[in-house]
């Protein structure tokens, strides 16, 4: 499978280790990797180029925090920019109108019929409105039957006209029918069409003209490659659609088409399809999409949280202490607090690349550190500063004071000593390593 982008960036930055700033030289190699990752995710060639240019501008001169590596910081710049381009999250579908008319448009096989059914289900279940499905794909064999079957399953009425080959007439009649029947939302399924098929593009324009839809949704397969740009821009020129729906997101595609489309037509992505069942419809999360395109775990969130929470000076002081083997229980406690501030322990540890998988099935919660904390809090200030004071009697006192037992106290002290040794061996005590270490201490 794909190599993680953050791993690649780490590699690209190996050469320039120790540099405190992102410079022209160390950025070039990185951007190459970013561009390649984007291309492998099917972001359009030109869009990827533009994108890396923008990132370069934004990255140059950024100060690298000691808590994160330059590679990680670059990932963050890239990801922020990507999320920004991807737009704001969850713009709702407009259901105003008597009735509201939703018109589907897209290539063959993009998933319009399935989406129509999902929208009907959504409108009915989540919005409490009465939808009407309209079968305007008069070309593909059994397309009408397909919609009818789905309508039956959902108990949603389907309007169709047997033998009629004029989608505009069918759609018009359907809206009249909806008014009579008191259906508040009319969902019009249409035939798939190629952007270069002039006759068919004319037909969908005519549908738009006749229906004056509340929303036109451009339905696109998330696996689409470079052509997404052509198709989206032609459909947009002809229809000026209101939103995009990405289908088949339950696959393992990186989904770069989302970025390409966003870049060329700048319309919101309103939903994603995540399965074949009628309820497999989700709102769109730009940040998640950004991460998916880049093919990485949540390293970015980790960096972000570290930036928020770790005081740079404090971190530097701590590193000195570690180097001198002076790391004590006070430091340990304050590290614990910091980690807890950063959020859910399991999530945090899971974000570390390479650690995620093993951690996933483990049972960790924020209470895991409770016993450890209680023991440390039972120590006197001298004991915290100088762990070597902790002999037999004192340990007994700690156990009863913290409501734990002597085994737990012994274990903690042993692990603390081990940890201290290990930490010393890290030349640069990185936040993530410490967290890994603490994970082990807990067990």
């Amino acid at each position: 499978m794909f190599e993680n982008l953050s791993d690649k960036l780490e590699r690209a930055f190996k050469l320039v280790k120790g540099k405190g700033k992102i410079t022209e030289i160390n950025v070039a190699e990185t951007l190459k990797e970013v561009r390649r990752a984007l291309l492998e995710a099917d972001v359009n060639y030109k869009v990827a180029k533009q994108f890396t240019d923008t990132v370069k501008e934004k990255a140059l001169g950024q100060q690298v925090l000691t808590a994160v590596s330059p590679g990680q910081l670059m990932v963050k710049v890239v990801r922020d920019e990507l999320a920004l381009l991807m737009g704001s999250s969850a713009s709702e579908v407009n259901l105003q109108g008597q009735p509201a008319v939703l018109l589907m448009a897209g290539l063959q096989g993009s998933g319009k019929t399935t989406l129509s059914a999902k929208l009907a289900n959504y409108v009915k279940q989540k919005k409490g409105r009465n939808p009407l499905l309209v079968a305007c794909d008069v070309y593909r064999p059994a397309a009408i039957d397909q919609l009818k079957t789905l309508g039956e399953q959902l108990e949603v009425e389907v309007y169709s006209e047997e033998g009629v080959k004029d989608p505009v007439a069918i759609a018009r009649h359907a809206v009249d029918h909806a008014k009579k029947q008191g259906c508040q939302v009319v969902i019009v399924d249409t035939a798939g069409r190629l952007a270069i098929d002039e006759e068919m593009m004319h037909e969908i324009s005519a549908l738009k003209g006749a229906l004056q839809p509340t929303e036109i949704l451009f339905v696109v397969d998330a696996m689409t490659g470079q052509d997404a740009v052509n198709t989206a821009s032609v459909f947009n020129e002809k229809l000026d659609f209101d939103g995009v729906v990405l289908t088949k997101m339950d696959g393992d595609t990186r989904g770069g088409a989302a970025l390409s489309i966003k870049a060329v037509v700048n319309k919101p992505i309103k939903f994603i399809g995540t399965g074949e069942k009628p309820d497999a419809l989700d709102v769109f999360h730009p940040e998640r999409m950004a991460d998916r395109i880049l093919g990485m775990g949540d390293i970015v969130s980790l960096v972000e949280k570290a930036q928020e929470q770790i005081d740079e000076k404090e971190a530097a002081a701590l590193q000195k202490k570690i180097a001198k083997n002076k790391f004590d229980f006070n430091d340990f406690l304050s590290q614990l607090q910091q980690i807890k501030k950063m959020g859910n322990i399991k999530d945090l540890v899971g974000m570390i690349p390479g650690v995620g998988k093993q951690i996933k099935d483990m049972d960790i919660d924020n209470d895991s550190f409770k016993g450890i904390e209680a023991i440390i809090r039972s120590m006197t200030p001298e004991e915290r500063n100088n762990p070597s004071l902790l002999a037999g009697n004192r340990r007994k006192r700690l156990a009863s004071g913290s409501g734990t037992d002597i085994q737990q106290v012994n274990k903690l002290i042993k692990q603390f000593e081990d940890m201290r040794k290990m930490m010393k061996s890290f030349s640069s005590g990185k936040a993530q390593r410490m967290m890994q270490q603490m994970q082990r201490t807990r067990r």
Partner: protein
């Protein structure tokens, strides 16, 4: 070509039209930069890269093609426009598996069983309709099996194709066990003496293990009727799909031993360049291309023509050959 006759001229032009819409500038840029030079310069590499990457060829395959071209140019020296076109064609075609299939020399076993697989909406059922039309036009008896019992109205869709092409369809209705439909189809095909049996299956995403297992089971069940069958496992890929098609190929190959590809929707603006890498990496040939929604819109794949269309200058591609 014994089976399907010659590449239809008007369809070829149709294909070129789609593929070459934005090619003119790129190609002349490439030509200008390479002609009369013994070394491929930066400009030509950039243009070439742009052509290939924006045709979904993908980064690794693009780099490979460029590398091969560089070697050739430095060896052959002073390349002209015609040679450049030829070189590119040769290099790309060289990456693609030989598309020769057993059908061409008339040694097709009987019945010849084709199992059609792919992700949702790529054009499996339509391709089956087109194949049914082609084979019956060749005077062969065909039988279709409706083993997509999952997607709404999938059986009806195949039945309509059966009616259109005058080919019988074995079906057990919606919700039936697909393996059982496949078994039935092959059995009755053998009994009826059908020459070609084609089984439709439900579209499925390749990362869904249970659905891929189901497909493997369909394959096994067919083998219980005829040990060598299915003779052809045809993976249908949509030309508009990007790099994910590689993963599709990998998974479908491992579940069902795919040995042929069909590339559909080449009548659009998508180039389908990802098949070059697929064919190269997995050594599976492209057998057919789909160039429309009608039953005649199926062609036998030729790497040279495909590449031609990829790089074609408008109006010149036919004469360049």
């Amino acid at each position: 070509m014994a089976l399907f006759g010659l590449f239809k001229k008007e369809s070829k032009q149709q294909l070129d039209k789609g593929l070459s819409a934005t090619r003119e500038n790129l190609f002349s840029r490439v030509a200008r930069a390479v002609v009369g030079k013994s070394k491929v310069d930066e400009e030509v590499l950039d243009s070439l890269e742009e052509i290939l990457l924006s045709s979904d060829v993908g980064v690794p395959t693009t780099l490979r093609i460029i590398e091969r071209l560089q070697e050739r140019v430095s060896r052959d020296k002073f390349v002209g426009t015609t040679e450049l076109n030829r070189l590119l064609k040769e290099e790309v075609a060289g990456l693609m598996a030989d598309s020769g299939n057993g059908q061409e020399d008339g040694t097709m076993p009987m019945p010849y069983v084709i199992l059609v697989v792919g992700v949702n909406g790529t054009g499996k059922t339509t391709t089956i309709g087109k194949l049914a039309y082609r084979f019956s036009k060749e005077g062969r008896t065909v039988l279709l099996g409706a083993a997509d019992t999952f997607r709404a109205a999938a059986v009806d869709q195949l039945k309509i194709w059966g009616e259109r092409t005058g080919v019988p369809v074995v079906h057990q209705g919606m919700g039936a066990d697909p393996a059982s439909v496949a078994f039935d189809t092959v059995k009755s095909g053998v009994a009826q003496g059908s020459e070609v049996i084609i089984i439709d299956t439900a579209g499925r995403l390749h990362n869904k293990a249970n659905l891929m297992d189901e497909l493997a089971k369909i394959r096994r069940v067919i083998g219980k009727v005829i040990p060598e069958a299915p003779h052809e496992v045809l993976l249908v890929l949509d030309a508009s799909t990007g790099q994910n098609a590689l993963e599709q190929a990998r998974q479908f190959i491992s579940a069902t031993e795919v040995n042929a590809l069909a590339l559909t929707k080449l009548d659009g603006t998508a180039k389908g360049g990802v098949v070059i890498g697929i064919s190269d990496q997995f050594k599976v040939p492209v057998h057919y291309i789909g160039v429309g929604e009608k039953m005649e819109d199926l062609q036998v794949f030729h790497a040279a023509d495909f590449v031609d269309a990829l790089f074609a200058e408008p109006g010149k591609s036919m004469t360049n050959k």
